[in-house]
Amino acid sequence: MTRFKWLVPTLYIIFLMLPIYWLLCMSFKTTNEILGSFTLWPERFTLDNYRRILTDPTWYGGYINSLIYVVLNTIISVLAALPAAYAFSRYRFAGDKHLFFWLLTNRMAPSAVFALPFFQLYSAIGLFDTHIAVAIAHCLFNVPLAVWILEGFMSGVPRELDETAFIDGYSFGRFFIRIFIPTIAAGIGVAAFFCFMFSWVELLLAKTLTSVDAKPIAATMTRTASTSGYELGLLAAAGSLTMIPGAVVIYFVRNYIAKGFALGRV
């Protein structure tokens, strides 16, 4: 029985790759071929869909917008979470347990509940349709996650490191930047990965808070589907391109994936 153990992950991976294959397949077909007949691979291979996306500002602008707010959010979330995680890991203070718990409950907040209030809030402060608005909005669930992950990694670093540095004369700032951060570099990588991931994939809030200037690629895709009919090939190409940042990120952190999911506290 163990001889066929490899079959299980293999079948699962095939299952995972099939829809992706289908999408890629469709992105290289013309819409006529897609709607006309059923073929397992593109009979008339075409790059037209991709060409259109990469030359049309309304399309590639969407990707750029998404990347901008995702990167912004990752930076903000991690930067804010670092000192907070340090505080949770090293200090006791009034209300610390409750604060930590409250932070985690925000991870459980359904975006649907916040869609309309966010719309009103960000409009009221004049940030509607900006990248920074989406970046800050995503902090709602990304910051607690970053704090949780970083706190786990930091707790794995013995306090003696801090104390030695202080005895050696480091100020808190210098210690933090020059000694502590390199020590938890893996943790920062993991936290950044998850922030990137959850911000890149979250679309309800991103769409609600934007209209033209900061429109994410998702909005462009849904608009296309409704206004110009079913341009499936184009949609497929657009969708395929959205998988690239994800694939790149995974490739770079592939050695840390298993360790990262352990989150230091599992």
């Binding site: 999408l23 991870r107 509940v113 966010f118 994939v201």
Partner: protein, 286 residues
Amino acid sequence: MKTENPKAWFLVLPVVVLVAFNAVIPLMAVVNYSVQETFGNNEFFFEGVKWFREVMTSQRFRDALSRQIFFTSIILLIEIPLGVIIALAMPHRGWGVSVCLVLMAMPLLIPWNVVGAIWNIFALPDIGLLGHSLNKLGWDYNYTRQPIAAWFTLVAMDVWHWTSLVVLLCYAALTAIPDAYYQAARIDGASRWAVFRRIQLPKMKRVLIIAVLLRFMDSFMIYTEAVVLTGGGPGNATTLLSIDLVKIALGQFDLGPAAAMSLIYFLIILLLSWIFYAVMTRDELE
């Protein structure tokens, strides 16, 4: 050993500001709306718990809630055991490890609307690989028209999307088990089942709790993929809670009932999560 330090609040301040801004202010607005009625013209009248009562007695809400509970239950029943089985079968060494991890992580990093779009196309009865094949094999399958087919596709999509999370979590726990445990089991003559039950499962327990909690919460909140896939249909066959809420809030601008429903929704999630968590960690404290 943590030291007492009230100045730690300064370190925590940025996080508190960011999250509170996003959480507290909107929530206050929601609470505000939930207890008021408006007839337009920015006039609001305090109505107390009228909206709450209305939502909780509305058939529409109850239907959405039961659909949601049904969905989440199926999801948990499939994804958790499946994730465990796959994690158990994954290699621990060699080139296969990276390949497995990278490929399995892919669905997790696809924007949720693209996930919905992929499955929308994939399951189309005439031009989608899945839909076409199922019909070729003799089943009458059309998820845009048949509620059962729609449910099947919705569940399949979520399993495709999120099982890898369970797999990766369980795999991390499994690889942390030192070889000596397996070696001792071989020497003790333990059967494969005993190895699973006595060594692997206990070591995976903490991770499984996290996995169940995460999957429970996220499946209860599911929105984008489901909307892109079925739009809540056919009819309202797959209208889950989030979908219904957004329809009401953004569509009909019935702020009062929408707000009340939001709060009830949020509270349900919090309550069930807390129960789950308490039940599962209970015997760890023992």
